[in-house]
Symmetry: C2
C-alpha cells in the first residue's frame, strides 16, 4: 500500500478552540498499531444535534444507534473509532454500541442516548469494544479545547492527510463559528452523506432548525461527490450546536435569521467534501463536472454522476488524454433524456464537440495543457432545458488498485 | 499498453464453412497499421436478419443505420470496421454509413438497405470511409467460405484473443448449425447487447421468429455481463439466417419447433459473452455472481450488477482478498429491498456470513485457495423471496488502468 500524501492535499487550517467542545484522541489498539484510533468529544450541556446518514440497506450498528439517539435532539458526547466499521456484525455489533455509549455516558455524566457513535474501517469483523471502553477513561481525562487536529487525525483510515475546515457566520448581531473535520478516501459515493464528518458550532440552534440546514448543506456538497461509486455502510455527518454563543433566539424552523449560517455551513461542507475527493484513493486530479441544459436538476445530476463514475472517463483523465468520446458514451448510458445531435462537450473551457459532432479544427493544445494540471473541468451541455448540476470526482489510477487490492492484508 | 494475451483466454473453436456465408478481412488502414481492420460477409439471397442494439442515448451512426435497415428483415451483406466507431460524428457519420452500404451493395448486387454495418473503435473522429470503400472491391473478390477466423480477428480492438463459438440444433428432423464471433473488452455494460457480435445460422427462419429468439438469448447472456459499467455506444448483436438448411417451415412466431434452436443459441451467446468478460481489459479472473432470495428476478439482477460493478469488490478479487464486507456494502448500495439481518454471503461455496453476521470460526483456507484460482464464485442470498439472477464480471487490475490511460495515444 502506498503511504505517500495525495498530491492534491491541502493544509490543515488553524483550528482554534470552540466554546463548548473539548476533544482528544488516543491509541486504543483496536486495529492499527502505533497510531491514534479513538476520538472522544465532550459537548457542553444543552448541545443540540442533527445528523444525516447513509442510505445503504446494510448500515453499520453505529448508524442504527445514532438514528435512534438523534430523536432526542441532544448530545453530550461523540465517540469515534477507526480501523473497524462495526458493520454486519449482528447482535455483537449492537452490543458494542450499547457498551461504548454506556461507558462514555458514565464518564461525561449523561444518558447513553446523548452519546453519538461512529466507526470506520473493515466491515464484518466484531468490534473489540472492551479495548475501546478500556481506553475511554484515560482519553476523557486528557480532553482539551485544543484537541482538534488530534481528532481529525484519529479518525483517518486510508486517508493520506487530515481534513478540517472553519467558517464564521452572523446570526443577528453575533458572530458564530462553524468548525468541522472529516475522513474519507475510498468507498465514496454518498447517498445522503459520506463517510464520517463532524461539524461543531457555538451557535444556539433548536434541533429541527439544525437538521434542516444540515440536510440542505449535505445535498449540495457530500452528495455531489464520488470517488468510486461505492456507497459506504457508515456514511455519517453530524452537526453539533453547543449554544455557547450569545445571539437572539432562533425559532425551530430556522427562518431568514439563519441565511448567513446556512451559506457558511454549505461552504464549509463543500470544502470538506472536496478534501475527501482530493484524498480519493490514488487520486492525482480533482475533476469538476458541470452539466447544463438538462430537462431537470435531477436529470442533470444523474448525467453528471454517470460521467463522474465512468471508469473509462476517469482513466482517460489519469492518462491526461482529452478523450471526450468517452464523455459522450457516459452521457449516453445515463438513461436520462439526451439528444446526441444537440450535445456539446468542453474540457478546460474549450468546446471540443458541439451539436453532435467534433468542432472542426478546434485547438487541442490548451486542452492538453489543462489536462496536465491538477484540476480538470468538464462541461456538458444537453441543450434540452434549464436543469443544471455540478459534481466532483477524481481520476482512477494505479494507486486505487494498489490500495484496494490489499486493504485487509 | 500491454499486448499480452488474457490469462483467461480460450482457444478458437474449429470454424467450418456455413452454407450461405462467404467472408473475409483486409487491412484498409482505417486506423491501425499492419493488421486487418475491415470485415465483409456476403450472405445468400433470402437471408433473414434480427438485431439487438445499445440503449445508449448517443448511439453510433451504424446503429442508426442498422435499426432502419432491419425493418426489411433481409440482409445480403455485413460490413464491419475496427479502429473508428463512427460515433458522435454528426452528418459526416451518416454520410459514411450511406457510402459504405452503397459500395457494398454494388459489389454484392443488392439494395443498400440489405447491408448491415457496424463500427468499433475511437468515438468522435470522422470515419475515413473513402479508405473503407476503396478496400471493399479487393476484399469482396477474395471472400471465401473459410474466412471465419480472419473475420473474428479483423473486428478486434483492445481484445487480446479472437472470440467465436459454434453449436448445432435440430429443427424438426434436420440439424442446423449456429456459428458466430464477437469482440469486446472494455466499455462493457450491456444494456441490450454488448459491443459487436455476429451470429450466422443456415436455418430458414422468418425475421420475426429470429428477432424473438435473439432478444431472449441476449437478455440471458450479454445483458448479464459487465466489465466496467460503461455501456457502449456501438453495442450490436446481429443474427443472420441464410435459409440453406432443409427443414420444415417455421412460422413467424417460431413456436415449439424452435425449442432446441433457442437453447443452442442461448448457449452460444453465453459462451461468446463470457469470452468477452474473459478478455475484459486487464482481467485476470472471471467472476460469477449468483443472487438468490430477492423479491423479484429484476431486483436480484440489480443487486448482482451492483456487486459486479463495485470497484472495491473487483479490486479485492484482483488482490485475492476474501473481503466479503465489500460485498455487503455493494448489496447495501443497490437500492433494492435487502435486510441486513437475513443476508448471507458465500465465496467459492463457503458461507462466510449468514443471517447478518460472520459465521463463527468459518474456515477461510478453502476460500483463500478458491480466490487464487482463475474463476471466482460469489453467492448472495437475501432470504426475502424467490427472485434469482446470475451475472458475470472480471476483476479490476493495473492492466485496466494501463490500457485505458493511454488508449488514444
Amino acid at each position: 500500500m502506498t503511504s505517500s500524501v495525495s498530491p492534491l492535499a491541502v493544509d490543515l487550517p488553524t483550528l482554534a478552540p470552540l466554546a463548548g467542545v473539548r476533544l482528544g484522541a488516543i491509541a486504543a489498539g483496536i486495529r492499527y498499531q502505533g497510531r491514534t484510533d479513538l476520538v472522544l468529544a465532550e459537548l457542553a450541556p444543552g448541545t443540540t444535534v442533527a445528523g444525516v446518514f447513509t442510505r445503504s440497506k446494510c448500515p453499520g450498528a453505529p448508524v442504527d444507534w445514532c438514528r435512534a439517539a438523534l430523536k432526542g435532539g441532544r448530545a453530550r458526547a461523540l465517540v469515534v473509532n477507526a480501523g473497524n466499521a462495526n458493520v454486519f456484525t449482528g447482535r455483537a455489533g449492537a452490543e458494542a454500541t450499547k457498551a461504548s455509549a454506556a461507558a462514555a455516558a458514565k464518564l461525561v455524566g449523561c444518558k447513553p442516548r446523548e452519546v453519538m457513535l461512529a466507526s470506520t474501517g473493515v466491515i464484518g469483523e466484531v468490534l473489540p469494544h472492551d479495548r475501546l471502553t478500556a481506553a475511554l477513561p484515560g482519553l476523557h481525562a486528557a480532553l482539551t479545547k485544543d484537541g482538534w487536529e488530534a481528532a481529525a487525525r484519529g479518525i483517518m483510515t486510508t486517508d493520506t492527510f487530515p481534513k478540517a475546515a472553519v467558517r464564521t457566520a452572523r446570526i443577528g448581531n453575533a458572530e458564530v463559528t462553524i468548525q468541522g473535520f472529516c475522513k474519507g478516501s475510498g468507498m465514496i459515493a454518498p447517498d445522503m452523506a459520506t463517510m464520517l464528518c463532524f461539524v461543531f458550532t457555538d451557535a444556539k440552534l433548536p434541533a429541527p432548525a439544525l437538521q434542516a440546514v444540515l440536510r440542505k448543506g449535505v445535498a449540495a456538497s457530500f452528495n455531489c461527490t464520488t470517488v468510486d461509486s461505492d456507497t459506504s455502510t457508515s456514511d455519517t455527518v453530524l452537526l453539533f450546536a453547543t449554544g455557547q454563543a450569545k445571539h437572539k433566539h432562533v425559532p425551530a424552523d430556522g427562518g431568514p435569521m439563519l441565511r448567513g449560517f446556512r451559506a457558511a455551513l454549505a461552504d464549509l461542507l463543500l470544502d470538506l467534501a472536496l478534501q475527501v475527493i482530493r484524498d480519493g484513493e490514488g487520486a492525482k486530479k480533482l475533476v469538476r463536472i458541470d452539466v447544463t441544459g438538462a430537462v431537470s436538476a435531477g436529470s442533470a445530476k444523474r448525467v453528471a454522476m454517470a460521467v463522474a463514475n465512468s471508469p473509462l472517463v476517469k482513466t482517460a483523465i489519469a492518462g491526461e488524454d482529452a478523450n471526450w468520446g468517452r464523455i459522450v458514451a457516459a452521457v449516453g448510458k445515463a438513461g436520462e433524456p439526451a439528444d446526441r445531435d444537440t450535445l456539446s462537450i468542453a474540457i478546460g473551457g474549450v468546446w471540443m464537440a458541439r451539436d453532435g459532432a467534433v468542432v472542426p479544427g478546434y485547438d487541442e493544445a490548451p486542452v492538453v495543457e489543462h489536462m496536465k494540471g491538477p484540476e480538470v473541468r468538464i462541461a456538458v451541455d444537453l441543450a434540452l432545458g434549464h436543469g443544471r448540476a455540478t459534481v466532483w470526482t477524481c481520476d482512477l489510477t494505479h494507486g486505487y488498485i494498489d490500495i484496494n487490492g490489499s486493504y485487509r492484508s
